[in-house]
Assembly symmetry: C2
Homo-oligomer: 134 residues x 2
């Protein structure tokens, strides 16, 4: 069921500083910041040859990463996103396996305009997993 790792998401308190670090110190290619107010984040992608790192900074008062950064003010790895062919089939397989889908259990349109689901980190050893239909 799991396909490619679409991205590894890292929550950061200061996107400009994180961009400078990945671009100038680590020598990676980074995209321009993209504000996604409907998702409560500003995003920069670090483009690697085989996948991406998504740097996330909170945007607005109801950012979904605000609570994470309260617990880890310096930032940290937030989730791993895997591609799936069929997100409804994925949801049904997960339900049959006893894994909990966050929210109402139905796919939402994610930050990249594709249907996504998030899985409960307690069901996957502390890792928040996003599934994205591609």
């Amino acid at each position: 069921m799991l396909g490619r790792v679409n991205h590894i998401a890292i929550a950061v308190p200061d996107l400009a500083a994180a961009v400078a670090s990945y671009r100038d110190v680590l020598g990676a290619r980074v995209t321009e910041p993209q504000a996604l107010p409907q998702h409560g984040v500003t995003v920069v992608f670090v483009e690697l040859p085989n996948t991406k790192v998504e740097l996330l900074e909170p945007l607005g008062d109801a950012s979904p990463i605000a609570a994470f950064l309260q617990k880890a003010p310096g930032g940290g790895m937030h989730h791993v996103c895997y591609e799936v062919d069929d997100i409804l089939a994925a949801r049904d397989r997960l339900a049959a396996g006893g894994a909990r889908v966050l929210g109402d259990g139905n796919p939402k349109i994610g930050a990249h305009g594709k249907p996504v689901l998030f899985l409960h980190p307690k069901d996957f050893f502390g890792t928040l997993i996003e599934l994205e239909e591609v």
Copy 2:
């Protein structure tokens, strides 16, 4: 400087349970467990089309992931490993950029038999970064 994401490492308290979850619930291909006593871990790789997830369980009394699991008993994302062409050039670039290399600053032979460095997570927004020469 940064090349491919070689792997995403996840520390888990129970490798057999994690293997069952990734294989049976998420439908991924996993390798046989490999005990690496000199590195203090038992490892399973989850093989995705473009990269790998490395599931790590502590092995022995001096496991480098024991402290992590004391803070996060259920497990969690532990580090991201990027490939580099020349690890000594990488080390010099990082030093010039003010980033701290863990240990004595010199590459060690990592769990895959290749020279590796680990970078201080406080210099990279809470993410422990491993660089591996390939």
